[in-house]
Assembly symmetry: C2
Homo-oligomer: 502 residues x 2
């Protein structure tokens, strides 16, 4: 994989000087076009051997292009805010917006390679990380991002010479790399695992470019030309990609049976039972959230449901059990301008709670496979791939000990009608009913089908859906609270076991 | 100040039960109206004696109102990201957006009171903090925010009884306050310093409300009614406040002398001198940024200037001296939707660098007293108060060892014309010239007057303006670099001295 990057590529100064002005001008033009179109972000990943010119190249790109449209990001030591959340959170929070370019030093590849080289995990751990990177990049590309991955390479001998030269040059000695790089052992392991990573993550949508790093002219010109060509290709892509992928069909529904149809909608609680059970479950939740094992977890609760199914009321009963300092309720409405300039899941990642905290999403990332699907706000290909992306997302949360609980509050059509009418009559509830609600109601069957698919495709071992029979509000509220409590208890037991094993 | 909150206010249960439903409904209506108008945020500060019902009241407000429109924020331990920035940054980053309500526990008042009670500083330190709080709140209110400040009070005897009762109640014992509260000493000091703080910071635009905390009915109903009344008053304020304050006139210019006029615009450097000095200053900057004393500082450089004065080119020469991982360039254009939902300075606060880092603002917060003033984008009252707010802002940066360097790049009218024409002819520069630029040029004299006032009012000992004669780009670039270097060196010397004193 690295052979052709150890053969001494070089460009003489005259050729370089002759080519650079036109390249630079073209890069500036492309960058301007990128900003004007504002259709996609560019993400440049910088990896490779120490001393192979990574830093110099990034510096040069900043000189050649307009640095005001470039963000250089480093990911060294994690901050405590980052340590309290899933590992990918730090990358999500620093993604460049559409029209801009983000250069990521010390990205997910450096993290996995460092981990493997220093023995913090073995090959299975590395392969897991590789899989995560693949899924992340696939998702970013599907969302339109243009990704360049550069591996700056040197042979072992070249590296030793280079580090020695840098060390001896007083102007550059500050750049000298960490000591362990000067040992051959590290080089060998780094290259061996690097090969595995590159082999597995070089994909048509985000290929690796291995750049020989010895000659500055060669490596600069090569990187510049790759960037330019990639930018040109992406900038001239057609504006609308109607159905880029031929989305596979969903299984047809050929009988009348459905998960929602199988719910016993007559379940109810009388007032006395309700009050007793509510208080019991609230006290239980209050205690669990104060359990010291909660410090190792975070909690995310997703509330979806028919309009007027009682999401707000259920959320309030959950909140009432808690110290307001511990939870946050995030109502999901139309995305803001900054959110629209990012991949779909960005606006949810930004609200992921730190360890010990609880975030309630009042509607959620499932909007893509519900309202956006039914109303045609996004292409079929986009909501079809969302099932997989959402499963990946929730798995990352789960891996980081974020407990995810998901509720679909279901009511029947008649109950909804009665609640709509009631809301229109009560003054302080009238703001809860809009024309949209009446319009959505006309698409009852479409939503029902979408909910069915959603549950089939995203109710997983990692994070199951709970369907809540919500014709009776009391029943629904108690079931919601009880489900959260059970999830917390199960998670505490699981992590007790894991901790014991260690 | 606290006498009338120690007399045993109480409301019987029947009265309470009779009043709450209507109050609750009215609060919900007001909250909905707040969201619909989206004109201003509500900030509720919660302070006072431990055990006086702070937490319970916040919990109750979340139950009474729609918790999806409320954000409860706590400010306990600072995160390392917060510790690396000026103290106010943590409050700015969590301000509620227009239309929403933020409840701040553990706010700036708790911080200053804890500091004083535990002897981390004396009265002068407390008074400084008080002054900072006053300026912050005045600015927030001028920007439209509605601020409620609640002090929950108990007499010493009441507090002791309350803490004892809580401790003995197994359902509440987890709420028990830190041990030091159970000592009378702390109570006395807390109340004494609290009085000083309340006296000094109770202002017409953000008064304190002292609430006796013994009786839950009394304190809940009182807080609810104050919130409701305040919300009603604010929601019915006229939509446009043309000139709320009668802005004092600026001093007239009665002769032809001006600071900009006194610049020697013929200053220039020939090519050889330029190249030598540029390299010298760049190497000096590179060294200073790697100086270990830089770890205690951050650097902010503001670039303002006539259109086509060469801001971009000067910024690139600064960037060229640095490791791209160390600096960030923030181009300031029209604010985003999320930025428009916040006070004016919010969008600059969010980019304040952490210690050791450098942020370049390509245009800045001075937009308010330049383009917004000249183009009439904001009322005179708004840009007039901006001078003071900006001085406060920069003083906070400076106090936190953020070095602020500000440049006005000045060219004369003829030079600008030549550069505009040149830009229209060179392909890769054509995106740098727009119709706006030609339009702005027609207001040359207005901008000149605005720049004069800006420099007079915001060139301070804490953060001086550097006027840069930029007809000759070489001269300008070297002067910019040299000025930054001098500022860094001076700051290092200053902090060496401060550290020696300690």
């Amino acid at each position: 994989m690295f052979e052709s990057a150890e053969i001494g590529h070089a460009i003489d100064k005259d050729t370089y000087d002759a080519e650079v002005p036109a390249l630079r001008e073209a890069l500036l033009e492309a960058q301007f076009e990128l900003q004007q179109q504002g259709r996609f972000p560019v993400i440049v990943l910088i990896n490779g051997i120490e001393g192979a010119g990574k830093g110099e190249t990034v510096k040069l790109l900043n000189e050649w292009m307009d640095p005001r449209l470039i963000e250089v990001r480093t990911f060294d030591q994690q901050s405590d805010e980052e340590l309290a959340r899933p590992p990918a959170w730090r990358y999500w929070r620093l993604l460049p917006a559409k029209g801009r370019m983000g250069i990521f030093f010390g990205n997910w590849y450096s993290q996995m390679l460092q981990g493997r080289v220093h023995g913090r995990f073995k090959d299975p751990g590395l392969d897991q990380a590789i899989g995560g990177a693949e899924r992340l990049e696939k998702m970013l590309c599907d969302e339109g991002a243009l990704i360049f991955k550069f591996w700056f390479h040197l042979s072992k001998k070249q590296m030793k010479n280079r580090l020695k030269a840098l060390r001896d040059d007083p102007l550059h000695s500050w750049r000298i790399s960490p000591l362990d790089w000067q040992q051959s052992e590290t080089y060998d392991r780094f290259v061996r695992f690097g090969e595995r990573v590159l082999r597995r993550t070089s994909r048509d949508y985000a290929p690796w470019y291995v750049i020989e790093g010895v000659d500055a002219h060669y490596r600069s010109l090569t990187v510049g030309k790759i960037l330019l060509e990639g930018l040109h290709a992406a900038l001239s892509r057609p504006k609308v990609n109607p159905d880029r992928v031929s989305a596979a069909p969903l299984p047809p529904s050929i009988d009348q049976l459905s998960l929602l149809g199988s719910l016993d909608m007559s379940q109810r609680l009388d007032k006395a039972d309700y009050e007793e059970q509510l208080i019991t479950e609230q006290a239980r939740l209050s205690g669990l959230m104060r359990d010291k094992r909660m410090r190792k977890h975070a909690l995310v609760a997703v509330f979806e449901g028919n309009d007027a199914a009682g999401k707000g009321g259920a959320i309030r009963r959950v909140a009432a059990a808690l110290d307001p300092r511990q939870y946050r309720i995030v109502p999901i409405a139309a995305p803001t301008e900054e959110e629209r300039a990012q991949p779909y899941l960005w606006r949810f990642w930004r609200h992921i709670p730190a360890r010990g905290k609880f975030t309630v999403f009042d509607r959620s990332w499932y909007g893509r496979v519900l309202v956006e699907r039914v109303e045609g706000f996004c292409a079929k290909a986009d909501w079809m791939r969302a099932y997989g992306e959402i499963n990946d997302f929730e798995e990352q949360l789960s891996d980081a000990r974020v407990i995810v609980v998901k509720f679909w509050l279901a009511i029947d059509k008649q109950t909804q009608l009665e609640r709509f009418q009631e809301r229109e009559e009560i003054p302080f509830k009238r703001f809860k009913i809009t024309e949209d609600d009446w319009r959505n109601r006309e698409k009852w069957d479409d939503y029902r089908a979408a909910v069915g698919d959603m549950v089939d495709r995203t109710s997983t071992e990692v994070s199951a859906w709970t369907l809540v029979e919500a014709n009776d509000k009391r029943w629904a509220r108690v079931k919601v609270l009880r489900t959260i409590n059970q999830a917390l208890e199960a998670a505490f037991v699981r992590s007790d076991k894991q901790d014991k094993k260690k």
